[in-house]
Structures are given as structure tokens and as C-alpha cells.
């Protein structure tokens, strides 16, 4: 099962490598990982997407909790939550294709943010499966470059991750 884990950690040098190191040392996989400071300068928030059986996820949560730099942690997948990821994709488009791609971007609520005679660069935000669907729809023949931010997430309702 795919899990989205949110981690609040001390904004200390090396904190990121502790998390990454834990995953490689124990053989857990990381699908994506994003990290940035929060409104509180002493804290970073990390969102980590991983896959594993319930046993493995339980171990991951426990092992993360053990890291001294980790202040709080939650498996967002356990409750209602919102997930967002950003995609930037550069496509080669000529002639009639240009109109068709612009239309597709519109359907997915993407925005064309850079245009040349031969390319479009499109920005799209959403849950991972929506981005997957868009990339698939564009088709590999016209895609020059894809960059994704990795997922970030937050719980719905009143629940929140706070030290």
C-alpha cells in the first residue's frame, strides 16, 4: 500500500540525511520525498511517500519516531487528507498539435507557462494519479522533459501536525 507520511523535524544540518539514511539502511523504499522550512524557522516539514505492507509501514513509523531530530510524525493515509504535487512538463509541439495540447492542458486545469515556436512548458498541480494521467495522455512521443515536485499533503478538517 502507498502511504504518505508527514514529518516535522528539527531544522538542523543533517536531519534530512538521517531520514534518507534510515530508509536505505533498512531497505525501505522512498517513492518521493520533499522537505522545506515551515512558518516556524526551527522546524522543517517533510513529506515522504513510501510503499510497504502494514508491518513494514509500522516499522517505518517507529523507526522514524526514534530519530532524535523527528519532532512529530503522522501517516496521512490513515485519515482523510489532501495530497498535491506539482508537475512541469516540456513538450515538442508543431502545427495542429499546438492547439490539441493546449486544449488537453485546459481539461486538466494545467497552465502553459512558457512558449517557444516548437515547445510548450506546462504546469499542473494535483494528486499523483492526476499527474500520471496527464503525462500518459500527452504521450511519450512529444514529451521532452518531465519534472515533479513529489507529493506534499495535509490532513482534512481540524487535525494538524503541530509541535
Amino acid at each position: 500500500m502507498r502511504h504518505i507520511i508527514s514529518i516535522l523535524l528539527e531544522n538542523e544540518a543533517g536531519a534530512l540525511s538521517r531520514v534518507a539514511g534510515l530508509f536505505s539502511a533498512r531497505g525501505y523504499n522512498i517513492e518521493s520525498l520533499t522537505v522545506a522550512p515551515t512558518d516556524d524557522a526551527t522546524l522543517s516539514r517533510m513529506t515522504l511517500v513510501t510503499r510497504g505492507s502494514e508491518d513494514v509501514i509500522e516499522q517505518i513509523m517507529k523507526q522514524l519516531n526514534k530519530l532524535i531530530d523527528v519532532v512529530q510524525i503522522v501517516d496521512l493515509t490513515e485519515g482523510a487528507h489532501i495530497e498535491r504535487e506539482m508537475l512541469l512538463v516540456k513538450v515538442c509541439v508543431n502545427g495542429k498539435e499546438r492547439e490539441e495540447v493546449a486544449r488537453l492542458a485546459g481539461i486538466f486545469r494545467g497552465r502553459i507557462i512558457d512558449v517557444t515556436e516548437t515547445t510548450y512548458t506546462i504546469e499542473l498541480t494535483g494528486a499523483a494519479d492526476k499527474l500520471d494521467a496527464f503525462v500518459k495522455t500527452l504521450g511519450s512521443s512529444i514529451i521532452r522533459e518531465v519534472v515533479r515536485s513529489g507529493a506534499i499533503g495535509i490532513a482534512r478538517g481540524e487535525r494538524s501536525l503541530h509541535p
Binding site: 523535524l9 543533517g14 539514511g21 517507529k62 532524535i68 531530530d69 523527528v70 519532532v71
Partner: protein, 577 residues
């Protein structure tokens, strides 16, 4: 008044109550060594190799329960200490290791003797720090000791750049500390404890499986009282020896790969298992698919991550062993119910049948020295009161099997990492912490050579350790596996070109004794222990062919032990099959 970083460092150690620092100087820590020179409160023990410093501090910690302290220089000083840090990590031993670092402005420049100490130690420490500002130094030292010694203990590394030790700051050592990101122990769930108490009393074939966590949490007394109150059988892990008195009739001996017949079979056939301060290590469980097939498992551990890691218990209890035992005793009392006496009687009858197999028997009539005999004599002569350190191999298993530890913190060995070279330096730390007490290092001719240089440290500080070298001219444990699993192809396990250990000991200023006849073993030991102020190196020329039994080979379960070919064993195996 402002102090230099080096002075702050030494003051902080003093205020932390540190008696001894095990270390080795070098460029990056020279300011600190200068500050050490100018005071007397913190004593420095100069080892001969940084690995020795870490093991010595580790031996100090294991035998006292207080964190061991190490000070080494940057680069090679830090890398040499690494094996000792990893050793402590695997056995959850509180160490605080200070490594020198190059100047802050040189970090990342591949400067002379620069190594990313925080990076290379990260996977084998509980936590580590790089101190970049002298104003953070005292607080970081405090945090390091706090983290190392609370919760599930472990080593903490503090990397200190040289310029930080020269800069000045106000000295203020915090008395207490709390960290929002670190809560070492959480409250015990009394409901779970209640369930455990009930299950324990319902048991027909109970067993208590206690590990090193009981020793780390100073819970041996509580455990002993609880078990004696119930009359249940108890087995200890290699790390847990001494947690329950070995001479108590309720004790089944060690369990696991080289555990006793009765301990392993009791584990296999039990219906309720109380696992406490133990982590279901692969050397303990054997093949997990065959492990304790009918048991309701109650698992107590201070580290939630240890629970359900290898074996999923029916009743998990997170908490410090001492605290949980206290509550468990209370819960048992409040149930006001006795264990099922008839069932227990039948269970003990069965266990005693297993005991009658006498799985640790060996040929007592042998004309060559049997290693087991040496350990037995050591036990008798020291009346079970010695501190015994060991290295890794067959001798380690024989020491564990044949020395009966009645008290915790007496048996000092590298269980998790299995580090050859641990025994002698660990014995130094033990002897320094316990002057005047008997300290024996049971080792092998291969292991002892991995930190042999520490004989020089022992001379400098007059440490009257008794070294028992069980010299079988082989990496015995490797040879045993090659005999069993590789049809006797003894690939590179013969120890050729051995030194004359007696002369070697003498050249370091110690006493050396060569013992090559069984009849001389006791006399040599007596002579050695009578020399209260000398290190005596006894080189016992032992049987080259002896193996450690019982043995559970890879992929086998607790009920599939290989027993000694000594008389009587074959029939037992048949009966089991």
C-alpha cells in the same frame, strides 16, 4: 568569566560527573588535551589504538551502568573508533564519543585528517552532533549524555572542530534538559500489563526469556523476584546472562544458537512466553517459521521499534523493564490467583527430562586441555564473582555456557556486532571501574591479536587483568562451521605463525604462563589469581577439534539442535525425530 571551548569541554565533563576519559591525542584535539593537562578531576586513560578506547569505555559502561567517555582526534582517530562505536550501538551501551574535527572553515575542503565523522557514524549511533559554535558546546555535551543514557541507551558522537575549542564563551552547564523531539520513555499501559498478568497465570507451559534490556534497566532484582514468586523457568540471552541468577534451579541456561537443550526446547514447547528486554535476534530465534509455534507471546521492550520487528506478540508492552516488572508484580498480586500447580509440575517434569540429557557434557577424561574445563575451573576458583569479558568465537560461547553468572553486569561481551578484539580493552574499562576486583578476559589466539597492543595500556595503568587465552591454533568458530557446513575445507582458518604469547606478555612487562596439560590448569589459575597486582597472560593449549554444542544451524528451529557426539547424544536426537 569566559572560558575557551577546551576548558568548557573539560568543565562540562567534570560537572557531568565523568571520572575517566579513554582517549588518544592528535592535532584536532590538542587544545582539549592541554585543558586536560591543567586539571585533575577528569582522569585520562591513554590507550594504544582508538578502537581500544571505545571498547574500554564500553566495558566501563557495561560494568557500571554509567556512560563511557571517549576522546579521539579527527580523521583516523574517528575511523579507528568506529568499530567500537558500532559495537556499543548493537548492544545499546551508553557511550559518549568526542571526535576532534578540522577547523570549521576547512570542513569540506578535504583538509588534513578530515573525515565526515557525523556522516560515517550516523548509521551506528543513537544520535550525533557537529558543534559549530562554542556557545553551543556545553549544551551539546549535556544533550549527548542525556540521549546516550536514557530510554534505550546507545552511543552518541559529538564532533568538535578545533577552532571551536579555542574560541571563548561564558560557561553554563544546564542541570536538566528536555528536548521536544526526544521522549525516551512513555507511560506504561496498565491495561496491557493486566492482560499479561492474566495470561501468565493461565499458562500451562510458561517460560521467561530475558535479555540485555533487563540488565540495562537495572531490573534484575525485580525480574528474579517475579520469577521466583511464580516458580516459572527462565532463560537468558547471551546479552542477558546475569539478569537472572544462573545457579537458581529455575534457570535453564542460555538460549539460541548455542543455547542449552532445555532452554531451546522450553521455548519451542511453551504456551506462554514472557519476553523482556530481548529483541528476538536471529541468533536467538533460529528459523522464525518454526519459532515457538504454540506460544502466546508477551513482549516488553523500552523501544517500540523492537516490538513486532521480527515476531508479532499477542501482548506488546512498551516500557522500561524495571517499571513494567514493578507493575506486573502488582497486577499479579491483585489477581490473587496461583499458577496452575499441576500443569507447572508436569512442565517441570518435562524440562527436567531435557536437562537430564546434559547437553553441555564434554570428555572429562581427555589428555588434552578441554576449553570448557578451563572456564569451569575459572568459575570455581573465582566463586562466580569475577567480571568476565570475552572476544568472539567458540571461547565466547564456552564462557557463556560454563561460567555461571549470578549477578548482572559481570558478563561483558560483544553480542550484537560480534567484535573480535573487544575482550582485552573492555576488561581494561571494567578493571578501571572496579579496582581490586577480579577481572578475567576469556579469549582466543585469533581475537586477542586484534587489540593485543592494549597490553601496553594495561602495564601503564597497572591493570591486573587475567587473560585466559584458549589457544586452539584455529579461528575455532570458523573452523567449526567449515567442519559442519563445508565438509572440512578449512579455508584460511588455521592460525599460523602465532607469537610466543608468554614471551609477548613478558615483553610488555606482564607475567606469561604456558599451560598445556589438563592437570596444570587449576594450578596455573590459582597462581595467576594470587598475583593480585599483575596482569597474567595464560596461554592454554587446548583441544583443536572441540566444537560448541548444542548448535542450531541456519534454517533450523529450536527443536532441531545438533548435540555433542559425546556418549548419549545420538539416542536423544532419534527420540526427538
Amino acid at each position: 568569566m569566559e572560558l575557551t571551548g577546551a576548558e568548557i569541554f573539560v568543565r562540562a565533563l567534570k560537572d557531568e560527573g565523568v571520572e575517566y576519559v579513554f582517549g588518544y591525542p592528535g592535532g584536532a584535539v590538542l587544545h582539549i588535551y592541554d585543558a586536560l593537562y591543567k586539571q585533575e578531576a577528569v582522569k585520562h586513560i591513554l590507550v594504544r589504538h582508538e578502537q581500544g578506547a571505545a571498547h574500554a569505555a564500553d566495558g566501563y559502561a557495561r560494568s557500571t551502568g554509567r556512560p563511557g567517555v571517549v576522546l579521539v582526534t579527527s580523521g583516523p582517530g574517528a575511523t579507528n573508533a568506529l568499530t567500537g562505536i558500532a559495537t556499543a550501538y548493537m548492544d545499546s551501551i551508553p557511550l559518549v564519543v568526542f571526535t576532534g574535527q578540522v577547523m570549521t572553515y576547512l570542513i569540506g575542503d578535504d583538509a588534513f585528517q578530515e573525515v565526515d565523522a557525523v556522516g560515517i557514524t550516523r548509521p551506528c549511533v543513537k544520535h550525533n552532533f557537529l558543534v559549530k559554535d562554542v556557545r553551543d558546546l556545553a549544551m551539546t555535551v549535556k544533550k549527548a549524555f542525556h540521549i546516550a543514557s536514557t530510554g534505550r541507551p546507545g552511543p552518541v558522537v559529538v564532533d568538535i572542530p578545533k577552532d571551536v575549542t579555542a574560541q571563548r564563551a561564558e560557561y553554563l552547564y544546564p542541570k536538566k534538559i528536555s528536548m521536544r523531539s526526544y521522549t525516551p520513555v512513555c507511560a506504561v499501559d496498565d491495561e496491557q500489563v493486566g492482560r499479561a498478568a492474566k495470561r501468565l497465570l493461565e499458562a500451562k507451559r510458561p517460560v521467561v526469556y530475558a535479555g540485555g534490556g533487563v540488565i540495562l534497566s537495572n531490573a534484575s532484582k525485580a525480574l528474579t523476584e517475579l520469577i521466583r514468586g511464580l516458580g516459572y523457568p527462565c532463560t537468558n540471552t547471551l546479552m542477558g546472562l546475569g539478569a537472572f541468577p544462573a545457579t537458581d534451579p529455575l534457570f535453564l541456561g542460555m538460549l539460541g544458537m548455542h543455547g542449552t537443550y532445555e532452554a531451546n526446547l522450553a521455548m519451542h514447547e511453551c504456551d506462554v512466553m514472557l519476553a523482556i528486554g530481548a529483541r528476538f535476534d536471529d541468533r536467538v530465534t533460529g528459523d522464525l517459521d518454526k519459532f515457538a509455534p504454540n506460544a502466546c507471546i508477551i513482549h516488553v521492550d523500552v523501544d517500540p521499534a523492537s516490538i513486532s520487528k521480527n515476531v508479532t506478540p499477542e501482548i506488546p508492552i512498551v516500557g522500561d523493564a524495571a517499571e513494567v516488572l514493578k507493575r506486573l508484580a502488582k497486577a499479579l498480586k491483585s489477581l490473587n490467583q496461583r499458577p496452575d500447580e499441576a500443569a507447572l509440575k508436569a512442565w517441570w517434569r518435562r524440562i527436567n527430562e531435557w536437562r537430564a540429557v546434559d547437553c553441555l557434557r564434554y570428555d572429562r577424561g581427555s589428555g588434552v586441555i578441554k576449553p570448557q574445563f578451563v572456564v569451569e575451573k575459572l568459575y570455581e576458583l573465582t566463586k562466580g564473582e569475577a567480571f568476565v569479558t570475552s572476544d568472539v568465537g567458540q571461547h565466547q560461547m564456552w564462557a557463556a555456557q560454563f561460567y555461571k553468572f549470578d549477578a548482572p553486569r559481570r558478563w561483558i561481551n560483544s553480542g550484537g556486532l560480534g567484535t573480535m578484539g573487544f575482550g582485552l580493552p573492555a576488561a581494561m574499562g571494567v578493571q578501571i571501574a572496579h579496582p581490586g576486583k577480579p577481572v578475567a578476559c576469556v579469549t582466543g589466539e585469533a581475537s586477542i591479536q586484534m587489540c593485543i597492543q592494549e597490553l601496553s595500556t594495561c602495564k601503564q595503568y597497572d591493570l591486573p587483568i587475567k587473560v585466559l587465552n584458549l589457544n586452539n591454533r584455529y579461528m575455532g568458530m570458523v573452523r567449526q562451521w567449515q567442519e559442519f557446513i563445508y565438509q572440512g575445507r578449512y579455508s584460511h582458518s588455521y592460525m599460523d605463525a602465532l607469537p610466543d604469547f608468554v614471551k609477548l606478555a613478558e615483553s610488555y612487562g606482564h607475567v606469561g604462563i604456558l599451560v598445556d596439560k589438563p592437570g596444570d590448569v587449576e594450578g596455573a589459575l590459582r597462581e595467576a589469581f594470587a598475583m593480585k597486582d599483575r596482569l597474567v597472560f595464560m596461554d592454554f593449549i587446548t583441544d583443536q577439534t572441540e566444537n560448541v554444542y548444542p548448535m542450531i544451524e541456519a534454517g533450523k528451529g529450536h527443536h532441531e539442535m545438533r548435540l555433542s557426539p559425546e556418549k548419549g547424544a545420538a539416542s536423544v536426537e532419534r527420540e526427538l525425530a
